[in-house]
Amino acid sequence: MNPPNPAPTLSAAAHEPATAPASLARDLLELTKPRITTMAVISVAAGYTLGSRGPVALALAGAVLCAATLLASGASALNQWLESETDQWMTRTASRPLPQGRLASSVALGFGVLLVASGLVLMTMAGGALAASIGLVTVALYVLAYTPLKRTTPLCTVIGAVPGALPPLMGWAAGAGSLTAEAWLLFAILFLWQMPHFLAIAWLYRDDYARAGQPMLPVVDPSGAATARQAVLYAAALLPVSLLPSVLGIAREPYFAVALVSGVALLVASLRMGLTRSMADARLLLRVSILYLPVLLGTMVWARQPF
């Protein structure tokens, strides 16, 4: 698929490198995808707290979260560096620093490598070798597998959901020093959650993805039927899986009620989008999915059973 036309928002002022320190700082910050990084760090924090035995040591937890922030930011910067060409074809991403030419490609690459390297060093020191290894695998899968596969197959989403679900595992490994079945349960919750969340985004921006030559599911199946079925299926799978922490005694009873109600809300929002396939319902599903994760993980941490 060849991109036919650049995104309409591509400004005429493109390719003028930024000079002011404030705008450079803003561009570097934008390179780190702050919202995605925040979500990843929240899930690392949940994994760390749930995996820790006894009270959480705040200084150590802070260092682990700093390391996770560096790793997630670095991975995002490298992702934007790799996608600088395709980003200019998408309305959603055309205003990013690289497609706009506000940042040199080499600066983005260097910044990303520096963040990842410092994140790995700090994670090794604060969270141990296992957590750092998971961090490295996460970055490698995201940058070297998911990002290039976006141009070739709709299955990239399933593959990309693996690095997307690894952050709580990294947090757990940092807190506990090993990986037990509970950590994999967190992985499964994050993995399944990403599908309705991402399919809502992919449906909303399907024209963008098509223009950029990225064959996401809503692009190869323009009717949206497959997108709808998969969003519902993954939300239906997430519902029982999200109850397991309570069933297995990892989280106390209030978690069960919160997981059940929020899981049903996500399933209903997925069903609505599936039935109407309207932009409004896709936006609703996106909002519900964004709320779902912090609510679920926050409740799980709050209601956790002590070791």
């Binding site: 709709p154 299955l155 506990a176 190869v220 239906a236 005694g249 070791f307």
Partner: protein
């Protein structure tokens, strides 16, 4: 009640899963091999089988099967009644 809800919802999901896989397989047989539609169905089959594998693996772990190691004693494993016996 919690365990019952979990197993009931898992069973519902698996029924949905089986119905979808069956439907997709029938679709695939009806389509021209190598066509764009057949490729989409093939892709969707993979998408569909992934959560099934996850749910089954977790259900086996929850049922205490497999080699999963839990970091703390599970509530489901806890004895319902503990007998205290004095020294003879």
């Amino acid at each position: 009640m919690q365990a019952t809800t979990f197993w009931a919802l898992s069973a519902l999901f698996l029924l949905l899963q089986i119905a979808l896989v069956g439907w997709l397989l029938r679709q695939r047989r009806a389509l021209l091999p190598g066509s764009r539609e057949a490729a989409v169905v093939q892709t969707e089959l993979v998408w569909t089988l992934v959560p099934a594998a996850l749910v089954v693996a977790l259900a086996l772990m929850a049922a205490g099967l497999g080699r999963a190691s839990w970091s703390r004693p599970r509530l489901v494993d806890a004895p319902a009644r503990v007998e205290a016996r004095g020294l003879p």
